[in-house]
Structures are given as C-alpha cells and as structure tokens.
Symmetry: C2
Subunit: 150 residues, 2 copies
DNA sequence: CGGAAAAACTTCAAGCCTAAAGTTTTAAGC
DNA sequence: GCTTAAAACTTTAGGCTTGAAGTTTTTCCG
C-alpha cells in the first residue's frame, strides 16, 4: 500500500537521524577524550573479543568492511602501539593481529567511557521499549542479510 | 544500574547493525541503478524540498555536514548537470544552488526507487511497531540535539 | 612435479568527511 | 570614512571507505 510505504520511509529517516546523532556524538567524544576514531575503536573492540588474535581477512569479515580498509586502520593502530602483527605459522601470506597490553588497557578505558555515552544517549528509554526496538530491527537486519529474499 | 547500561549498549549495537545494513544496501543500489552516491542523493533531496534554491551554508545546515563537504558534492552535481549555481542578488559571497529540470527528473526516478528499497527493507514491520520505534528514536535524537542536557 | 586457480593481502584511484586555515565580501562601530 | 569583526565560501591535510587491480603464497589436480 502506498501509505505504508511512505510511513516506512518516514520511519527510516527518523532512524537514520537518531543514529547519525548518536554516532557523531561518539566520534566527537572519542576524538576529544582519547584522540582516536570510531573505526579504530571498532577494530580494537573486535580484537578484544578475540584474545588469540584475528587475521586481516577475519577482521574485515567481522567488521564487514573491505580488506583494503582494514590494512590502513591496523597500520595506524600499530603506529599507536595499540596493536601488533604476528607471522602466522605455516602461511606466509597471512597476518595475525592482536592487541598489545597497552592496547588492552587503553581500550578498557575507552569502552568504559563509550558505554557511558550510549547510556546517556538512550536515557529515558524503558527496558520494554528497548526490547521491542531490538526485536524489530533484528528482523530488518536479518532480512537484508538474506539478500531480501526472506 | 549496570544492567540497564549494558542493555542499552546492546540495543545501540543492534540499531547500528540494522542501520548500516539498510544504508549499505541503498548505497549499492544507487550506484548500480543510477551511478550516483548517497551524499549526492541527499543533496538533491534537500534541493527538491526547496524549489527556490538553497545557499551553500543553508545546504550544509540542513544536511548537518561541514561547509567544505558541500562544496565538493555540489561541484560534482554541477558536472553531472543535475544542479546549478546562481549569483545571489546583493551578496557577492553567496551562491544559490538549485536543481536543473534534468536534475529534478532524475531525482524523481531515484526517489521512487529509493522508497521501494526502504519499503522492502522494512517489510514485515507493522505500522504499530513502526510508530513506537519512531517515537522512541525521536526522543533520543531530541535529547542529543539539546546537548544531552534534557 | 608443474601449472592454473584461489587465497590473503596491499596498493590505487576516487569520493566522502571533518576541522582548521585562508579568501573575499559585507556589516558594525566609532 | 575607516577599521575591525563577522559571514560565506573554498582550500587543505588527514583519515575512512570502496571496488578494482596487483603481489605473493598456497592449494588443487592431472
């Protein structure tokens, strides 16, 4: 129905607006408080969850970004001393990326602050609302993952 | 409470995931079907709503991006013939940006397809769910606009 | 074994984005 | 009128992002 379609478009614009607002707040805060960026934070978050390290390709798979993209971000994280690259036993093509101890400590501080910012942004949202939104958006994400076929 | 904070973080990650999925779908489709980009689409959408044209600064204000950013995007839209820049009477600093007739026609086609993509992405969402999400996220956006003070 | 195909990366070109600095024009205050 | 400040833009440097092309290693398989 035409009305429904317009309604969904309106919903999307709202979702986008709110998301961009939160995201740009997070970017500013990361820059101001930690002199880092969201992409770097995301890489470190992924590595934090994989203590044994991740190969470049696994990293780009987890973050759903291109291979070439990860190359540059990891490069800068290495310069920062937050991350290091190890040879992979038995495959000279691959690289294992890990957090350094300093990287882990730094990320812990960042993640803590990050959780606070998000908590503040979503302040006033009841657990019930949060639950419903989560479910609805999960469905959207799932549908797109399946190529819109389901 | 700590639990609530983690829950909100989880919600945020879900919102982000779904949003990125939809957005990247839209970007791909714009590229594939219209050889254009989301930023260009956004500029044209803003101009479509302001038939008398917008100054560069108004455009960056509406889209909430930096001035320098708009300079480049408009430049490319001019090359495409979708947009033109006019002198502003009485202020030689300013530029008025407008859609050309060709730009309007092209945008109409794009907007039509765009609505369809969004409609498909949010297929399965009831009007009721959509309504609730909209309200909740509006509150989030409003809070951040006020600098987190309210 | 030897060659073709695939895998894991990196590099490149082009575009997007921001903050900061620079230019030109207009407005304000004296 | 003159000087200073502000406004409207553009330019620049640095980083993110992608798709495509290129490199080196590994794997497949005949």
């Amino acid at each position: 129905m035409s009305t429904t379609s317009k309604d969904r478009l309106r919903l999307w614009l709202k979702v986008l607006k709110a998301t961009k607002a939160v995201e740009s707040e997070v970017r500013e805060n990361l820059r101001r408080d930690f002199a880092t960026t969201l992409p770097r934070f995301d890489v470190m978050a992924a590595l934090m969850q994989h203590d044994k390290g991740l190969k470049m390709s696994e990293l780009s798979g987890v973050l759903k970004v291109s291979n070439g993209n990860v190359t540059g971000i990891v490069e800068r994280l290495v310069e920062d001393g937050h991350v290091l690259r190890e040879k992979v036993e038995g495959d000279r093509r691959a690289n294992l990326v890990r957090l350094t101890p300093a990287g882990k400590a730094e990320f812990a501080r960042q993640a803590d602050a990050h959780e606070g910012w998000i908590n503040a942004a979503f302040d006033g949202l009841t657990a019930d609302e949060a639950q419903r939104i989560t479910e609805s958006l999960d469905a959207v994400a799932r549908r797109l993952e399946n190529g819109g076929k389901a």
